[in-house]
Amino acid sequence: MSAEEDCMEVMVELSGGTELLFGNCRQLKVKVAKSGDNGCDLRQLIEVLKNNHLKERPELFVVGDSVRPGILVLINEVDWELLGQHNYRLQPNDRVLFISTLHGG
């Protein structure tokens, strides 16, 4: 376990179906190790989620180093496309929502 100052804690929220891949958990506090002075980015958070928190069928959550098509990533209620996507530098206490878009009607 890294020392306190080498980690950053963010709040991860899951909904629309992604929560089912995380043991039906809708909220997680996640610690991500900082890599050097630059802190850490969304790519690393996805890696941590995949390795430490995902409970089943990783192919329904990740494809390569990103999320699978159909999952929207929203940082503090803003689409991650507006914030640099994978390269967004996480800030302490950021709220990152992974939402599976619904198709039912």
Binding site: S15, L20, G70, L72, E77, S100, T101
Partner: protein, 284 residues
């Protein structure tokens, strides 16, 4: 005929009096509603409440698209249908219920499944399109055709206790469905209400919100969810509004170098499934 569209009958004045009292509507707003046509694609959990409130509010002309028949398992959420209509066409059942509520509205049942050959013809005849379908193929098709025909697309979806709403293609800053989802989800990750289950009142709330966004567009106001996504989590009762990206410069549908033209594309191939297979996909 023109003059009846430009004025309100005595029945209409008394019927709509309570909404005309709202200063944002008034007589001019009521006439605007009457002059508006809306196409509702899917007479299911979303299309039923959306068409119900739009008919009651006095939208002038409403088209209803579906090719399915009423099943008993629809009745917990598709509230225009009833026990005596099981086995009958949803479009006919919907029109019968709606007509009894407001005979001033022109109701057009369109018994078909939208596809690349018929969609543009149908959609071009209406001002505002409501997406109440239940699979990504239909959603890509509808979005592409709305872009080609310059129609706002009021999109809703629901599953389990969750609901989502947004308005695509409203203006030059609003993304289309493809801007958000350039790549279709893997076929095995898509769940419809028949497979995943749904609490009936969730599409009720989202369908009502689709009606409200449509009313605002019809009376000349900006809808609240153009470029915004509403997320409703019915289990904890929370509503979130998310700021979405703008139009994507790379979008093959609405971007400056769009490649999708009136011939559209093979949506089954694009989504990697066959049309009738959507009923049997795996859960997520």
């Amino acid at each position: 005929r023109l003059s009846s569209r430009m004025s309100l009958s005595a029945d209409e004045v008394s019927r709509y009096s309570r909404q005309m009292l709202c200063q944002e509507v008034g007589k001019s707003g009521q006439l605007a509603l009457k002059a508006t046509s809306v196409l509702i694609v899917g007479c299911g959990g979303l299309g039923c409440p959306a068409s119900l409130y739009l008919t009651a509010a006095g939208i002038g002309r409403i088209g209803l698209v579906d090719n399915d028949v009423v099943d008993r398992s629809n009745l917990h959420r598709q509230v225009l249908h009833n026990e005596t209509r099981v086995g009958k066409l949803k479009t006919d059942s919907a029109v019968e219920s709606l007509k009894s509520i407001n005979s001033n509205v022109i109701l057009e049942p369109i018994e078909c499944r939208l596809n690349r050959t018929n969609a543009s013809d149908i959609i071009s005849k209406y001002d505002i399109i409501i997406d109440g379908t239940d699979n990504p193929m239909a959603r890509y098709l509808l979005s592409d055709v709305c872009v080609l025909n310059k129609k706002p697309l009021v999109s809703g979806s629901a599953l389990r206790f969750d609901g989502q709403l947004t308005v695509y293609n409203y203006d030059s800053n609003t993304p289309c469905y493809r801007c958000l989802f350039p790549t279709p989800p893997p076929a095995g990750t898509v769940t419809n209400c028949n497979d995943g289950g749904v609490i009936g009142v969730i599409p009720g709330i989202i369908g009502d919100m689709q009606a409200l966004e449509t009313i605002k567009i019809a009376i000349g106001r900006r809808p609240s969810y153009a470029g915004q996504l509403l997320l409703f989590d019915g289990l904890n009762g929370s509503f979130k509004s998310i700021k979405l990206r703008g139009k994507s410069a790379d979008c093959i549908s609405c971007g400056p170098n769009a490649t999708i033209g009136q011939e559209l594309m093979d949506y089954e191939e694009f989504c990697g499934v066959q049309c009738n297979q959507s009923q049997s996909l795996k859960i997520l």
